[in-house]
């Protein structure tokens, strides 16, 4: 039996969304970006919203997201995506507008834009990929780098007294009245992917209903930056990132989830 005997219409249980281009992903093998891209595009495809959606990807590993997402896209300056999104959404209030930002972008250089877009309650969706490191520039310390975590600019581990604390920006923006739905997810297992996709779907629903800003953090691995093979990187993420950045909804329907 050859592959052509298997790839037949009746055997298809899954296919790539048409909202991903055929361009090979430039991300490192094992990186979570590709999966995150795919589930966002699947959600937009399922909503039949390609013609209504504008995506914004600023500087970082995902600066080339426009090569892979088959929608109109704007590449933004480092940290400024929420401001760019505000400019689009305020002038096209019926369109879907989302940003796709990394941790350095969203929680360091773009902190002001993030907080103020959230606080104004812009009817946009922010997808926040948190891998605790600057991937594109070669593994420097990020605002979300964990205590003791080694990076090229914290080679002896993040020293809190010298370098400050890892920033839980998602918890921070959840406090703001402008945010309506805030969730933290991951894409390291099929179950996690399903949950993350559901959160993204809800985020777009909230945007459509003009209830407030919707925000989905995806805790992701960076095997290159963490200097671990993909499987080990995912395990390291489970063991170290998730205890500090616990998965689950943080704010639903404008109400903070009370932890027991």
């Amino acid at each position: 039996m050859e592959i052509k005997d298997i790839v037949k219409e009746e055997n298809l249980v899954y296919k790539k969304t048409s909202l991903m281009t055929n361009k090979p992903l430039s991300y490192c093998p094992g990186c979570g970006h590709g999966t995150a891209h795919r589930i966002i595009m699947e959600v937009i495809e399922e909503m039949d919203a390609q013609a209504e959606t504008i995506g914004i990807a600023p500087v970082g590993c995902s600066v080339l997201a426009y090569e892979f997402m088959n929608i109109d896209m704007i590449q933004a300056a480092h940290g400024r995506a929420p401001a760019v999104a505000t400019g689009v959404k305020r002038t096209w209030p019926e369109k879907f507008v989302f940003t796709y930002q990394g941790d350095g972008d969203l929680a360091a250089i773009g902190t002001a834009e993030t907080i103020h877009a959230c606080n104004r309650g812009e009817f946009i969706t922010i997808i926040f990929i948190n891998n605790g490191i600057y991937g594109m520039t070669g593994g420097q310390m990020a605002p979300t780098t964990l205590q003791g975590m080694k990076t090229s600019t914290s080679p002896y581990g993040r020293n809190l007294s010298m370098m400050g604390n890892p920033l839980k920006i998602t918890e921070l923006i959840a406090q703001l009245p402008g945010t309506y739905f805030v969730s933290r997810q991951a894409v390291h297992t099929p179950a996690a992917v399903r949950k993350a996709k559901k959160a993204i779907q809800k985020a777009f629903d909230v945007q459509k209903e003009k209830k407030g800003l919707s925000f989905v953090e995806i805790v992701s691995n960076c095997n290159s930056g963490w200097k671990l093979p993909p499987v080990k990187a995912n395990q390291w993420m489970v063991d170290n990132m998730f205890p500090f950045y616990p998965l689950g909804d943080i704010k639903v329907d404008g109400e903070l989830i009370q932890k027991a």
């Binding site: 109109d72 590449q75 933004a76 300056a77 401001a83 689009v88 305020r90 002038t91 002001a112």
Partner: protein, 361 residues
């Protein structure tokens, strides 16, 4: 004749924007231009035309809101003053690189640093020699009256969309703050979604429809050969502007033996200087560049044979004077005069400086 009103220069920009059918204004308060944002908030153009007005959290955010709205095919205006415009520079470079049309006004104040809140023309270099990173030019209009503050908003958008390029209105605290009679244009309708599709569907990110490829707004090219090609394309636009978009005005040049070159508020002051000089029998004329880029090189060079000297007058330590020297290729003596740091020269001070440099000297 359009409606006549007595307005501040800053208010004229704001009212002209509403009437030009501008879709959005994003800005951040800074003296001496806060009246633009205040006027718009007071006027509620959302009710009049649907124009969006938003006070951003910073100049960084404001210029990137402009970037976003312009990317999506919307007519967008912002204004600021010198320290704020310094913060705009990153965004302006991106806007130029990504070829986005928009109009920006700089109501200049004295610098460097926090400087003063008084008028200045010391942002000439920042405006016409770059400002942000990379090889780009800003089409720059320099109004010298409240009327031109209003008129250049509409003209600015015409040029911005003709070339898909950012346009700067370079003015100062004097023109921004003073009140004059201004004739306002009739209300133009804002573009509809259909208009935008018809006009800008080749590039604007309004959502990918099945009848076209996706549109991408970016200033990034990882391949340097591609980026060089893109730069050549930008340079070709700037050369076209130099050929087609030069604007200037002359005053008393027909028999002039000397010339003052001055723009904006300095041109107003210099006009009085020329009357004073003429009364003393000194034949001085004025060339007022209206576009600073493209600079009126040919008109200026054309006057050289009749001239004994040129005085470049600016509210700066001498910035435009470099372009005057380049335009006349050192074929005639060029001197600079100007008060700066927020001080304004009087017509008499300009005349005294002129006489010391050219008559008595």
């Amino acid at each position: 004749m359009g409606e006549l009103k007595l307005m501040k220069g800053n208010e004229a920009i704001a009212e002209a924007a509403i009437r030009a059918g501008v879709d959005a204004y994003f800005g951040y308060p800074i003296t001496p231009q806060s009246e633009v944002l205040e006027y718009l908030m007071q006027e509620q153009p959302e009710e009049r035309t649907g124009m969006v007005v938003l006070q951003a959290e910073s100049e960084l955010a404001a210029i990137n809101m402009v970037y976003g709205a312009a990317s999506a095919g919307k007519k967008v205006l912002t204004t600021s003053s010198s320290p704020g415009i310094s913060l705009y520079q990153e965004g302006i470079s991106y806007i130029a690189g990504a070829e986005l049309p928009c109009v920006i006004a700089n109501v200049v104040r004295g610098g460097p640093g926090l400087g003063t809140i008084q008028p200045s023309q010391a942002d000439y270099f920042q405006t016409v020699k770059g400002g942000g990173h990379g090889d780009y030019k800003l089409f720059t209009l320099a109004p010298s009256s409240v009327q031109e503050m209003a008129d250049f908003v509409g003209l600015g958008f015409e040029v911005a969309y003709k070339y898909r390029t950012p346009v700067m209105i370079l003015t100062d605290g004097m023109i921004g703050q003073m009140m004059e009679k201004v004739e306002l244009q009739e209300q133009k309708p804002r573009w509809t979604a259909e208009d935008i599709k018809g006009l800008h569907d080749k590039w604007a990110t309004t959502g990918k429809t099945t009848d076209r490829e996706r549109n991408i707004i970016t200033s990034l090219n990882l391949e340097s050969a591609v980026q060089e090609k893109h730069n050549h394309h930008l340079q070709a636009k700037y050369r076209q502007m130099e050929n087609e978009e030069v604007r200037y005005e002359t005053f008393n040049v027909e028999d002039a033996e000397y010339l003052i070159v001055a723009y904006g508020s300095s041109a107003r002051i210099a006009q009085k200087t020329i009357s004073l000089a003429r009364a003393k029998g000194i034949k001085v004329g004025l060339l007022r560049p209206i576009t600073l880029f493209p600079f009126p090189v040919k008109p200026l060079a054309g006057l050289v044979p009749q001239l004994k000297g040129i005085l470049s007058v600016e509210l700066s330590a001498g910035q435009m004077v470099e372009d005057v020297k380049l335009a006349v290729e050192c074929k005639v003596r060029v001197e600079h005069y100007g008060r700066f740091g927020g001080m304004i020269h009087s017509p008499e001070e300009v005349l005294t400086a002129f006489e010391q440099k050219f008559i008595g000297g």
